[in-house]
Symmetry: C2
Subunit: 740 residues, 2 copies
Amino acid sequence: MSWLAGHEKHGHDESDNLGVDWVLRYEFGDIDQAQAISEFRTLIHDLTEAGLRVQVRHGHGSALLVFIRVPRDHLGKMVHQSRIKDWLFGIIHTLPSGDENTIASAETPAEEIRSVYHAVTWRKELGGAGITPKFGKWKNITASFPLHDRDACSELLSKWNRKTNLTVEDLDAIRALFGEKVAFYFAFIHCYSLFLVVPAAMGIVGWWFLGPYSTIYGSALVVWCIVFVEFWKIRETDLRVRWNVKGVDQLKVNRSQYQWEKEVKDPISGQVSQTFPGWKQFLRQMLLVPFASVASVALGTLIVVTFASEVFISEVYNGPLKGYLEFVPTILFSLSLPAITSFLTGIATRLTDYENYRTQDLYDLAQTQKTFVMHFITSFLPTILTAYVYVPFGHAIVPHLDILRRVGINTASHKDFEVDTSRFQAEVIYLSMTAQVFSFAEEIVLPYVKHVLWQKWRNYREHKAGLTRQRSFSKATDLLLIDAPEESFFLRRIRGEADADEYKVEEDILEMCVQFGYLALFGVAWPLVPLGFLLNNWLEVRGDFFKLTLECQRPPPIRADSIGPCLLGLDFLAWMGTLSTAAIVHLYRGPMAEVHLSSLLLTVFIAEQVYLGIRFTASTAIQKIFSDALRREEASRYAVRKSFLEMNQSRHGGPDSPSRVRQRVRFHERVNVYSSDTASPDGSPSPTSEQPQDEVLRGSDREAEFWEMRECDTADAGVKLIRALSGGKGGGEIKEVKHA
Amino acid sequence: MSWLAGHEKHGHDESDNLGVDWVLRYEFGDIDQAQAISEFRTLIHDLTEAGLRVQVRHGHGSALLVFIRVPRDHLGKMVHQSRIKDWLFGIIHTLPSGDENTIASAETPAEEIRSVYHAVTWRKELGGAGITPKFGKWKNITASFPLHDRDACSELLSKWNRKTNLTVEDLDAIRALFGEKVAFYFAFIHCYSLFLVVPAAMGIVGWWFLGPYSTIYGSALVVWCIVFVEFWKIRETDLRVRWNVKGVDQLKVNRSQYQWEKEVKDPISGQVSQTFPGWKQFLRQMLLVPFASVASVALGTLIVVTFASEVFISEVYNGPLKGYLEFVPTILFSLSLPAITSFLTGIATRLTDYENYRTQDLYDLAQTQKTFVMHFITSFLPTILTAYVYVPFGHAIVPHLDILRRVGINTASHKDFEVDTSRFQAEVIYLSMTAQVFSFAEEIVLPYVKHVLWQKWRNYREHKAGLTRQRSFSKATDLLLIDAPEESFFLRRIRGEADADEYKVEEDILEMCVQFGYLALFGVAWPLVPLGFLLNNWLEVRGDFFKLTLECQRPPPIRADSIGPCLLGLDFLAWMGTLSTAAIVHLYRGPMAEVHLSSLLLTVFIAEQVYLGIRFTASTAIQKIFSDALRREEASRYAVRKSFLEMNQSRHGGPDSPSRVRQRVRFHERVNVYSSDTASPDGSPSPTSEQPQDEVLRGSDREAEFWEMRECDTADAGVKLIRALSGGKGGGEIKEVKHA
């Protein structure tokens, strides 16, 4: 994979972010110029009012890029305030030292960017600029993202290429760069892949000596699945403590879409909270049941029809064009699936909106739950049908499909018909090998190729447009339209990032859950399944990181204390996997005709009790054995409090200097030049008194140049650009003179 | 129940504890005098070395009562230190104000007594006197308990008699008097009884309209059981927050019996902890499996044999003495059960010892688990046998019992034999009505009567002995042997408390669990079961409080954050109850002969899935709906931190005065005279500078008199008493001149 890293080796200047903290893209292609100008002026006004510095450049097409920089003293204050808030909500246990004017330096880039994110998105009452992209009055802001730290990313990626296995330090590094929510995904895939080694090894042995449908291999697989899920729960708790995110859900601010019913002022704390009754929300959530039913029926019918037609054509039909007709149902299914899925996703989104969650986290969680239901049906139902309907009952059902004979068309005699019992295994092999490769290509390689080609085509078009329509505006506007040579490469990169997709970590987690589901439900049919998954995941973890850093916008470093609703999904899949494995072994081990329904039922019933027993034992044992790690973490927390107490007692009051225990995560001194450690020797950060004007000088000269334009000019510059760009609307594309 | 309260109405003097914090009973009946004297001197030395004040009086028989008082300034320091420790372990979130010499006043009597408990029992390194009753060198200390607060108890009991339902304030009061562990039991029985109202009402309707074995009533009952268990989990979390005991397990000190394998010094905190590997403990715990098997087989065999003989005699045998012989198996069973149970308990205790738990809490928890297994077998197996073996298979099995006919004895013709299908219902009715009354009488009334009679008999005997053997010792010893008139009533009361049983809250919790089990497993057979239980519990909660306050020693106010392993038991019983209810309804609804095994299996299998579904829904819904209470608690925590922060910031350092938010729980100012509120107006406790000598004067004159004897005299007085009492060993009883 060295080509990935090689791709990243560009010069120092190219990866410099010029001190830009955050970028907004304002698109005005669909609205008229006057409205655009007024909206843009409001935007700049709101941002500067919130104490942020702004610069504007043109984007691709009718779009402006607004570059935001939070002055370092303001950012330091926000970091400190955020830590105070953490303490108030009991996330951290030591009160950060200092008063309300203390300027703290962030421990990780993620902490810094999180405060920037708050400064941009929080409501004005909370001290932010209140910019909510794609919603309400800001619906023309189509992108809002921090900039990638190219150097750190490429260093991490090349580091990973040199070793087979990630370490906890790598996870810490991801957390430091992208926040806990993303880090939890990588921790999960890492933990899961490590665990996969066991069934992969068992699988090789089982494949050689036992063959498919082995009771021993099946039991081992079931135990492994349950143990893994229980272990991951503990691991999650462990990471939660390590990353100090236990209970972060509660301190999240309200979504702007949240409709509260009454404001409750707490009689003791005087804290005003907007509440929406829990029972009402629960009742609304109950709509998930009809939704899941409708989704199941819709998708289920589609799948059953496809499946039946496919079976009919391949097994019964013997007429002309059989070779081509065989593929028709699958093609039709694949074509109609996106439409149906997007229709259902639309309903799901409206349901989630209706459920009215207070925070974005809860909203995402509820949405993921619904996506999980749909994924579950589309991913597992076809194979379930093969395993439990087609193979066992095929000889009874398939002849009924034989309607064509009645209308006189020549078909194969159904005396000849015999169920293809290997079909189930063939499907499982396909799922664990071919499908994984395809999905990797579809997820990572294809978008990359598409992205590169699209970029090339646009550059070519813009170049052409620029040549034909030069010198059509005033000299001043023209200067705005042409990138300064020293910014050119930087702006090209940012325009690319603005066009990139948002990274949705939930989708990646879901993908892993579905993979786990395949293994748990059908793994017993072919012992090499885990080996295939293991190899796939080795690539997947690197591919996902590649996607995250090169194909997507940098996600806001949101905190989370779990992988979310997928945990529940894992539990469900482990349970279902136990029943399924028991049933498959029972059905497929011997001749199918000899299987009695009551004995099958007994097997499944016993399997369920075994599942409950193993889960209980595993969770007890794992908690017992691995609680050492947690205890150690607790001990270090204890140590922090203890040292705080000692300091406090020796000074008799004044908790000014809790000693720092955790190390900062630094990638390059240069990258973090803004948050350089201003702490005085005794550990307390000394207040920085520099003015915003001086402060930019601490960066490079290039940064100073970029930021020297005054705020009032920014609004004017933007307005000029809007006029220029929307004036040239229709065939008009802006010119971009290459200095690269 | 006013007679209970009436019993308590004694004078002011009678309920005065004379400033005694703790009492130890030292028995020397079985050892020789020299050893006793040396042991006693060590005891007094250890106690005074730990800074405690002691007084000695004689007890019943060859026993001394050592009265302990912790000087108020020492106690205040211990309370403060304990709070600091709570903060260090993250139990409370605000650092208590003050330095290492701060004297805090306890918020509740329980907090005060807990510190006294620590002062007496903790190892010397931790600042205690290291007195571990009945263990090691202190195995002759046969009782160790704080004194009851008679006034507060009788006030609470009479308050309860005036109302039907407890409130959360009553639970707070129990917590304040007896600590969280006991309070959790009362909270549980309270919550459970309130919940019982629902099935009791359903039961009356069901009994009138539906009759037994109704599908509707059965389903409702199952749902109720699951909902109750899930609700209790939330309620427990709620109380945990309310009582500030979240996570108290970890700060408990080691048991003296704990054998650690290595001492680990934490590299960061420098905290030394003694560890024992988790996996080793888990392996040792796995011995529970053979234990449970052996216990099941032993008890099971006994029960099956009893059951079979009983059935045989009542249904098959028709010879002479049938009327008497029918009772023989049950009587034999009842007679042998205690021996077998105590044998099994012995094994269980040795197992638990071997499992080597660090804290007493964990030890008790493990022991309760084993007791639960035994209780489960003895309580449920007979009824399970009736329901699932005797009634369905009776017609096939009972004739085989007919061995007597073969040996020629006259028996009823087994043509006449018919299974008594109402036997199951009759047993359930017995369990829910008669057995509950019996157990109440056995648990509360019988011990009380026994206690009163025993006391009367002993008083009579001692009076007689005193008359015959007066003036047999020196004048000084004699003065020690004869109670001072002003202490006489007090000493008589304490001697009674020293002889009383220890209160084992686990047993009471277990009793309620078993009751819940009857309801969940067999309740469908007779819809009035919950009504019977409801009435019983109304009495039970008062009876248990009566037992706790009048028949038992006051338990040390130990903290706990749950009802312990019984929670797991409840989960298990709700699960088992679902399967059992489904099976019973399926079996008994129609004619038994028409039931097929496969359809029964299907019913049970479906019931299990329904159970899993309902449990998941119930737990989600309850968390959603009742999380408001938790959120409110969190808000008040937030408020505490917030006010702390504001104070801190306004002072610029020095977290001296977190404002007190919670109210103290006070019963009588007089009762809590030692912990009188010394807080200065700004909320911070002002250090009390009084000397121990002055300090006792703050109590009544009677207290001053009691404590005026110096510590060095105490040892001598004890030695004299030992000589006097062990000299008079054999027929010797001490005299007690009545002044009452």
